[in-house]
Amino acid sequence: MNLGVNMSSSFFPTIKRIIKLGLTNFWRNRWLTLGATLLMTLTLTMISVSILMTYLLRDTAALINSKIDLTIYFRDDTVVDNSITALMTRIQGLPDVTSARFVDKAAALAIWDRLPINENIKKPVTATNNTLPRSIEISTNSPDSIQSVVDKIGATDTDKIICTECVSYSKNKDTVNRLISITKFVQRAGLVLSMFFGLIAIFNVMNIIRITITARSDEIEIMRYVGASNAFVRGPFIVEGILYGLFGTIFTTLFLLAIGYGSSYYAGTSSGALSFLQMINLDIFQYVLAHLFDLVLIQLGIGVLLGIVVSSLSIRRFLEA
């Protein structure tokens, strides 16, 4: 009698059987697996919502950032166009500057004409009597870097600039700073909160997978008696773990789409609580749709990984030491 020497067994029929067993078990214990799948859905929904919130904050912050222009106005008497062009080339070379646009007197007049201010104030300024200064509108990569840009320009070219007070940033400094700190706080709080919820959900998924495994300890015992290898005992449970992740992703995606569609519809038809969404010009459904691919990938990754890890951890105590 040869003990434990022939360790190899045919690979492909085994893999096929493991997958089949996993699918069968998933269906046969459908109430237990439904529970695990729903918990997985909850986990993935919480993670998805916090990801969406992060996206939303990031996009809002980007929007605000792109609107904060640092504008430099030039005196008509001392500055010629050539030196402005030279300055602009230098500004564009600064590391924190994302774009710089030269606004000449004609363009400034066009903007002036569109301003929602009293016609009597507007009237004196005409094409022939254009007292509006030329300017460079600068966008920076983050509100944080405006001050350094101001410092770099102001240090060398103060004589060409009408007044430092005219830099729009100076007026908005406090508002911008407050906005930055709020954004950062919300982002951090969101991260901590979603980690916290994610952890709770992971524990719940672990528990329910443990319950499904314990409920089948008889089957595992029999598999071991008849000489199933550890890999074979573990296999079907891993397949099930993958299925929790898969179905969790499907449910979560449908759920998010439904919520997105519902809130968009509600915001579009009523002046109710969600009408603020219209004010900030945000269609949640479109937003979810736009990020759907990212979200599904992330859900699938997290769900399947979670299912596999939790299943393997829970099955461990049933296997040979």
Partner: protein, 280 residues
């Protein structure tokens, strides 16, 4: 893979030959429930006893202690290939512990267990499943999967070991024929009698063509008629050359078999005799 298939096929052919050779010898292959226990005649093949032979199973000063209780203490036991051994004793005498040690479900606290010359303590964790395929185990509570049919329960033992579909078909058919359950192959365990359930479990234990069949109180849940069915079946398996270890507390069963009887009490072997009877 090829080596394994060779091994499997070899064992398979061997079994087949034996079945064919012994089919003539068996007085009544069909087990008839109406046959009274007293009339059962068990045929005895030649005993393979000789002290020079390397024992198939060798317990050397084996002790198993749990937190609160010493289950077996300093047991020495040798079982040769082809023996029919009954282990008897009351509940708690250590019979089940002995079997758990032999199937390497638990390690002994002291001492060594050798099977076919190999120390079980040296088996790596990965080898244990392969070792288990060489021993069949049958339990008092059958341990059948309720949601699988008779056929599926037996075939399952081969599926988990990676046998090919053809091989599973062939071996399962043969095992079910041996236990005379070919007609019940599509039934679920709950549709079977206790005896039929145990026969299914025996077919599952035999489907790997193991060298050793261990039966732990196989008749504990059965009525006398079914009990005799199972005992006769175990005896036929023994006649085919498989070493059978039967743990029981049924006096009638042991007295009828008239084979080697090991009596255990309080975790010790207190008697070991050939053709023995159940005496306390």
């Amino acid at each position: 893979m090829l080596a394994m298939m060779d091994d499997v096929l070899h064992i398979g052919n061997e079994t087949e030959n034996k079945v064919q050779a012994e089919q003539g010898k068996l007085p009544e292959p069909e087990l008839k429930p109406e046959k009274a226990p007293e009339e059962t005649k068990l045929e005895t093949p030649k005993e393979k006893h000789s002290d020079s032979q390397t024992p198939l199973i060798d317990f050397q000063h084996v002790t198993k202690a749990y937190a609160r209780k010493v289950a077996i203490s300093d047991v020495n036991l040798r079982i040769n290939e082809g023996e029919f051994v009954s282990i008897v004793g009351q509940s708690g005498a250590g019979k089940t512990t002995l079997i758990k040690l032999l199937t390497k479900q638990e390690p002994p606290t002291h001492g060594s267990i050798f099977v076919a010359g190999r120390n079980l303590a040296d088996l790596r964790a990965k080898e244990v499943p392969f070792y288990r395929r060489k021993i069949g185990v049958v339990f008092q509570d059958f341990k059948l999967l309720p949601q699988k049919t008779v056929w599926e329960n037996v075939a399952f033992a081969l599926e988990v070991c990676g046998f090919s579909q053809d091989e599973i078909e062939r071996r399962t058919t043969k095992a079910l024929e041996l236990v005379n359950l070919g007609r019940r192959r599509k039934n679920y365990p709950e549709e079977l009698s206790g005896g039929e359930r145990q026969r299914t479990a025996i077919a599952r234990a035999l489907v790997h063509s193991p060298k050793i069949l261990i039966a732990d109180e196989p008749t504990g849940n059965l009525d006398p008629v079914n009990t005799w069915e199972i005992v006769e079946l175990l005896y036929r398996i023994y006649q085919r050359g498989t070493t059978v270890i039967l743990s029981t507390h049924n006096r009638q069963v042991v007295d009828k078999i008239k084979k080697r009887v090991i009596l255990m009490k309080g975790g010790k072997i207190i008697s070991d005799e050939l053709g023995g009877k159940y005496v306390i």
